[in-house]
Amino acid sequence: MRKIRTYADLEGPDSSGLGDQLVLQRRRVDRRMKTVGTVLGVASGKGGVGKSFVAATLASAFAHGGRSAGLLDADLNGPTAPSLLGLPRRSLSVTEDGVVPPVDSAGLRVFSTDLLLEDGEPLRWRGPAADGSLWLGALEKGAFREFLSDVSWGELDVLVVDLPPGAQRLVELAELVPKRTRALGLTIPTSASKVAVARSLRAAGDRGLPIAGLVENMSGYACGSCGDVGPLHPGDAGDALARELGLPLLARIPFDAEAGACAERGDMNGVLASRAGREIAALAGRLEQEGAP
């Protein structure tokens, strides 16, 4: 059998430079994230736990507290951040530095696929219809990378990232911004949520991602009349996860119809004044004490 030289044997440059192009992409992320203090990935293992609401309110609480803050809505297929914050649709300025993110009245810088799509329009990618599963994951990861590297975030104390359900994007975040990222695990009290959140956080931990702590959302129902908190979901996932993973339980946020109504109309000031909003503002304070940001 004849001996054919291997890739490593050839000393000439790789003219496509595919590996080099990937390195340059990572460097773009590094350059952009150099001016960001902490990237806080809000993660849960499952959908429907109120992650987008908590992430948007937390980012807003940081901004109202005088921090320079950003919110990246990384749920590419189910974006909600602009509507939660009441941001009007405007054209995004594209400069040589990058895409300028919209800023809300508190100074919070926001980016989301919602800003790119018509109302109600799903995110559709161009490409051959067959075998979409082969390239879709890479494309979504690429879009997430561009949201980190190509948005002109400027100098931020904290960039809150609202991650979609599951561990995948959290792991990608840990790969893309390894030194500045911390995760915040969000659960509801149920055992199903506990199992799913534990999986996500362990996957992140396997990659060395520091986890700032846990938050139990929908932790009881806050009565709109008397303010008492009554039972809502069965279970004690927050406490159980804290014991199991050795993490602090940083907040219990009750389900609050008033906060929900404010969020529905994009009134973040109203959300922050509600019972749930006050708990999330206190969470922001605890995270600052813990050093994130």
Partner: protein, 151 residues
């Protein structure tokens, strides 16, 4: 990715790239010793897998544009989602580039979501080469030379 001419035991060099617009790609490599050429042809799925990584076979000719992958890959998107701001760099050539009627029609057919970026890339291509008028032929040449799949 490297190509080896087995007869000469020489690494082949990249020659040219062609993007006919049907999702396929041709990349030509040439042996510097015997001159033999081979073309690597990819089908639409293979081309898509590579472009989904945001990388260009044959190398990148144009610096990566802000949200380039997203803008060139989203099907649809909001009209007026992006507003291109004029370049502020003082090193840019002051050459004024005109668009022929046919080129303008072709540009108008590009989805507005990505049109501003495409227009700027073609205009920069023309300025860098001292081309005063962009025609469909110039657009074809730029597209192939720059590897602008999806634009």
């Amino acid at each position: 990715m490297k190509f080896l001419c087995i007869d000469c035991d020489e690494q082949m060099s990249f020659g040219e790239r062609q993007l006919p617009g049907d999702g396929t790609l041709a990349a030509v490599f040439r042996c510097p010793a015997c001159g033999r050429e081979v073309a690597m042809l990819t089908n639409p799925m293979e081309t898509q897998v590579v472009s989904s990584l945001g990388i260009k076979i044959g190398g990148r000719e144009v610096p990566e544009q802000p949200l380039e992958l997203v803008r060139s890959s989203v099907d649809g998107g909001r009209d007026e989602a992006f507003a291109e701001q004029p370049a502020t760099s003082v090193t840019r050539e002051p050459l004024r580039v005109e668009w022929s009627e046919a080129a303008t029609r072709r540009l108008d057919a590009v989805p507005s979501f990505v049109r501003g970026m495409v227009k700027r890339i073609y205009a920069d291509y023309a300025k860098e080469r001292g081309i005063h008028e962009i025609t469909p032929e110039i657009m074809d040449r730029a597209r192939t030379e720059l590897g602008l799949e999806g634009m």
